[in-house]
Amino acid sequence: MGHIRGLKCRECGREYPIEPIYVCEFCFGPLEVAYDYKSIAKALNKEKIEKREKSLWRYRELLPIDGEPQVGLTSGYTPLVKADNLAKELGVEELYLKDDTVVHPTLSFKDRVVSVALTKAKEFGFDTVACASTGNLAHSVSAHGARAGLKRFIFIPASLEPSKIIASLVYEPNLVAVDGNYDDVNRLCSEIANKYSWAFVNINIRPFYAEGSKTLGFEIIEQLGWKAPDNVVVPCASGSLLTKVWKSFKEFKDIGIIKELGTKVFAAQATGCSPIVTAIKQGTDVIRPVKPNTIAKSLAIGNPADGFYASQVVRETGGDGEDVSDQEIIDAIKLLARTEGIFAETAGGVTLASAKKLIATGKIRRDEVTVICITGNGLKTQEALQGNVASPHYIKPNIASFEEVLKKIS
């Protein structure tokens, strides 16, 4: 039933069979899943999608699995919120938030990619899944893997905050805390992936895992009434999400689900880690690695694997990139909560603050339809707001004390 042709090198085009591999043996380029779009166009249409369960698997023909979905059956299909209060604040006519602060079950868009990765890992026959992560990915692999009955090895830097460690440990994975920074953990995991026959979701399963991000884009189009937006603003860490959102829009066009596609794709990064946006602004295709220094830790990748492709998409679609300071990130988190009642993690602050700047400078037009992607929940990174929110009104347990406060407020 699958519609996959094989794996294909993004650089030199060499083709490979469907296996847990991720690098072209010839030119070292990344491998990507290649589909048979003619057969998908015959098998999939709007009516069929609309009849299915409201999960990311409603677009299953465009996901790289052979059999039935096995993991994350309740993940995806998050709200697309029409943000009228925020639109008024930013001075635009039509604004939407793709709200992945509420993806089931671990409250970030990583539940999308992990659902696909673990289904594929089961198809390949792996009994152990693994990842290198410091937060959202660790939580998602720990949770989905628990339900799917898989052994789990989660590798983290030993210096991680206790709250993030607990949010993984509760699912009882094998949590390995490495004496080193995230780059050290990542490098070690590459070695472990070579030696042990495990499904490392973001290493040897990466070509399949990354495809899960497309479901965010499919949902945006469906929820806009089968239309692509004029603008979409996407946060960038490795750059993978941005390239896959664009790929999803193109696929819906290619198989005839939408007739027109003129979306401009915009990249958002924190100034303290903005290798992709810097390349976009300088008009170069060389991504210069940086040492991250930002409160937006979930986006803090100094040497982004898909940075080149992300900057290409931005250029190709006539979009742009913007970066924002830590204070702008905090202000945007508060703005989003105040106007739309959504508490986003720091990455959401980056995306909204960048969108705000792009609107102010006229790069995003006020009379167009814009979607901002909010990819994780603020309850996970509360420490980022320490000292930046008001204090409670402390009172005695009597009416007089309360009314004293009331006088001050009004």
Binding site: E11, C27, F28, P30, A138, D183, R187, S238, A300, F308
Partner: protein
């Protein structure tokens, strides 16, 4: 003296298993041609149309050539050159792995 060139595991089949080979000083891109004469086939694996392939990183004395003068970077006698696949992983000491995913 010559230039020391460190060969990554996937290309050692072309260098008869040698991890380190010698090259002639000069521009990086000329070094690639020099290596291809000595080890036929290695040139097209690391370069295309006179440019180093995007997912191959070349370091001269631990500095990425993209931050020097790219393909035109001049290598002197005694310099050390490392050829490193950007996302292939593996246990190359000092190697920079293209990071895949954040938190």
């Amino acid at each position: 003296m010559a230039v020391k060139v460190r060969i990554p595991t996937p290309l050692q089949r072309l260098t008869q298993g040698k991890e380190e080979v010698e090259g002639t000083p000069g521009k990086v891109i000329d070094l690639v041609s020099d290596l291809d004469r000595k080890f036929p086939g290695i040139g097209e694996r690391i370069s295309e149309n006179g440019k180093i392939r995007r997912f191959v990183n070349i370091y001269v004395n631990d500095e990425d050539i993209r931050f020097l003068n790219s393909e035109e970077t001049v290598i002197k006698d005694g310099d050390e050159v490392s050829i490193v696949p950007a996302i292939a992983g593996g246990a190359q000491p000092g190697m920079v792995v293209g990071t895949r995913e954040g938190e």
